[in-house]
């Protein structure tokens, strides 16, 4: 008798006990757990560490002292020219994005609408260079652009032209960025363009729109999410790029990431490097958030 009542009591209690547990470990949360852990360790923790270091005593290696704004004061002091590095970085990144957009649009259009069964092969060829280390590819370009290198030597022997080497100048840095980040602009653009239904474009023409009007009124706005993603991706990557300016630009221009690297290595001033990093993150983050406000991510991921 007692066992029976116990059993009854247990079964009647069980659902009440289960309910909150089920809510705590919803399948969605469980599935997201590994990513959340990774983000916490690999993204949030360094961010906190860097932010903390930016308020540390200059040239110190501990974050547990009294917080100070000394590092930021150094950066913003009129005697410091580090703002130039910021400007260079942003200008290079902006130029790279604009050039990439102009360069990638025709290719992306072809990949999305014209090349047909060749599109896969072309995509593969465009992805192929990514298998080789970026630095090795950039050093390849050094050999191409250097005095008496491939370009210079060819021009000299064929046409007798003596050009000043353009290696180690800002334009080559932009070239390097365009070259390295091309896939990151191209593929989101292809995605964007293939999101534009063919019949909608046809309908615009059928309703009397010229080729240019169709592009402006229908194709461009509908493909815009892809273009914006590509632009954001390449902009963020280019702002954070350091290899292009070091390898192709020599030391002609110091970009902000280079400054940060110097602060952390040769200068052994971690707090200054951290403060520069925080400022860069803030500037780029603000730009990205501004753009994302005008972007419906759901639409890009195919949900309406």
């Amino acid at each position: 008798m007692s066992t029976l009542s116990e059993a009854v009591a247990e079964t009647s209690v069980r659902p009440a006990r289960r309910m909150p547990r089920r809510r705590l470990f919803s399948p969605g949360l469980l599935a997201a757990l590994p990513v959340l852990a990774l983000l916490a360790i690999g993204f949030l923790a360094p961010l906190i560490a860097v932010t903390a270091f930016s308020f540390a005593e200059p040239r110190s290696f501990t974050v547990f002292g009294a917080p100070t704004l000394e590092n930021y004061r150094t950066i913003f002091s009129p005697a410091n020219t580090v703002y130039l590095s910021f400007v260079w970085s942003l200008v290079f990144a902006a130029l790279a994005v604009v050039l990439l957009a102009l360069l990638c649009y025709p290719v992306a259009y072809g990949l999305a609408h014209i090349f047909g069964r060749w599109a896969n092969l072309i995509t593969l060829l465009l992805v192929f260079p990514l298998f080789i280390s970026e630095n090795i590819r950039l050093f390849g370009w050094v050999l191409f652009f250097i005095k008496n290198g491939v370009l210079d030597g060819t021009l000299k022997s064929l046409f007798g032209l003596e050009l000043q080497s353009i290696l180690f100048t800002p334009p080559v840095i932009v070239f390097g960025m365009v070259y390295v980040y091309l896939p990151f602009m191209l593929f989101p653009m292809v995605l964007g363009l293939s999101m534009v239904p063919r019949e909608v474009v046809e309908a615009a023409g059928d309703l009397g729109a010229s080729r240019l009007q169709t592009f402006r009124e229908v194709e461009l706005p509908l493909a815009m999410p892809g273009f914006i993603i590509g632009g954001l991706l390449t902009f963020v990557l280019a702002v954070g790029a350091v290899a292009e300016s070091k390898v192709l630009g020599g030391q002609s221009v110091i970009v902000i990431t280079h400054d940060i690297e110097i602060a952390f290595t040769y200068a052994q001033n971690w707090p200054l490097g951290a403060a520069l990093s925080v400022l860069l993150t803030a500037v780029v983050g603000t730009l990205v958030l501004l753009v994302l406000r005008y972007l419906d991510l759901d639409r890009i991921l195919g949900r309406r």
Binding site: P197, V200, E202, A203, D206, G208, S210, Q213, E217
Partner: protein, 351 residues
């Protein structure tokens, strides 16, 4: 008769080695509601895409009021199309969608708005929809918006490429009638593509039946329904009873039933199918008789709402009999029944 608004002569389209449209000759009269019906892959969409300027013909001519428009691009043709997907601009409001053709022509904002409002009223959409996003509209509303946008273009001919195919049955029936009303109201020439003959029957002045890139038969819905040219057309018109027959003297011999029937007079018919619509068959009570009659077993019955359909098996042959509910057969399943029909109610279709 006046000059046709649209004349197709020998119109042909090849895709690689495949011929989608073969030598089509057709005249469309001003103000007509012409429907092309055909199964998928019959080339009907390709045909209308050529007419709209979205595909270039491989051969033949498209004449609009006597003028060749083969090479005229879509945006310079005075025609407009309502697409199967409707192809509304998802990033624009209802008003902007309707005004699109006017904007492209540089019509001033105020005039555009007035026209859009008029069209909203014509299509029985609330004026408040002007600023609504098209992605928030229902299927039926989107149909109306697509039609309004096409009408805003003020085309000489309006093409429709199966715009109703993705709509549920009840709404489709309503929209079919509405479309016919709009046709009457606007007086424009409509050319409609569909795979549903039922849809074509409801709306059209004339129907062209298409098969394998060719127009098999052109006629009024009445003509197509009562005098289908061949087996394909007759089957396409809905459920029919087909008896394979051979001419045998004055009668028609049906080998599968080993019986000889009298059919409608038809010169030159040698062998093919005797076509009898299910509604022309009737159950014969004892003592009644018909020009043609067969005996079989009532196998099953299907209620179709206002009508009831019966399956009668005569040997291997299955007959469908359709009766209004008030003329229903009073008896049981598996009864032995005699069904009959008059010679004038049947049709002959060559192979």
């Amino acid at each position: 008769m006046a000059e046709p608004i649209l004349r197709l002569s020998g119109l042909t389209k090849h895709f690689g080695g495949f011929t989608a449209v073969k030598q089509i000759d057709l005249d469309i009269e001003e103000g007509e509601f012409f429907t092309i019906v055909g199964p998928s892959g019959s080339g009907k969409s390709t045909l209308v895409r050529m007419l709209a300027g979205l595909e270039e013909p491989s051969g033949g001519e498209i004449l609009l009021r006597g003028e060749r428009i083969n090479e005229t691009p879509a945006n310079r043709r005075p025609t407009c199309m309502v697409f199967q997907s409707l192809a509304l601009f998802p990033h624009r409001t209802v008003g902007q969608n309707i005004e699109f053709p006017l904007k492209m022509r540089g019509v001033a904002r105020k005039a555009r708005r007035a026209r859009a409002m008029g069209l909203l009223r014509l299509l029985q959409l609330p004026e408040s929809y002007y600023g609504k996003s098209v992605t928030q509209c229902s299927g039926g509303e989107r149909q109306r918006i697509a039609l309004a946008r096409a009408l805003a273009f003020d085309p000489e001919i309006l093409f429709f490429d199966e715009p109703l195919s993705a709509i549920d049955y009840k709404l489709r029936k309503t929209l079919e009638k509405e479309l016919k009303d709009i046709h009457k109201e606007t007086g424009k020439t409509f050319m409609y593509i569909t795979h549903s003959l039922e849809e074509a029957m409801v709306m059209s002045d004339r129907i062209g039946v298409m098969r394998d890139g060719k127009l098999v038969q052109i006629g009024t819905p009445e003509e197509i329904y009562t005098r289908p040219r061949d087996k394909f057309v007759s089957e396409f018109m809905g459920e029919v009873n087909l008896l394979k027959v051979k001419r045998n003297g004055a009668g028609l011999h049906c080998p599968s039933l080993d019986a000889t029937f009298t059919g409608p007079a038809s010169k030159g018919f040698d062998s093919g199918y005797l076509v009898i619509r299910p509604e022309y068959l009737r159950f014969l009570k004892p003592g009644e008789s018909a020009e043609n009659q067969v005996e079989g077993v009532l196998y099953n019955e299907y209620a179709l709402g206002s009508r009831i359909q019966y399956q009668v098996r005569v040997g291997e042959q299955v007959f469908l009999v359709e009766k209004l509910r008030e003329q229903r057969y009073h008896g049981r399943l598996d009864d032995r029944v005699t069904i009959g029909w008059e010679a004038r109610d049947s049709m002959l279709a060559p192979e």
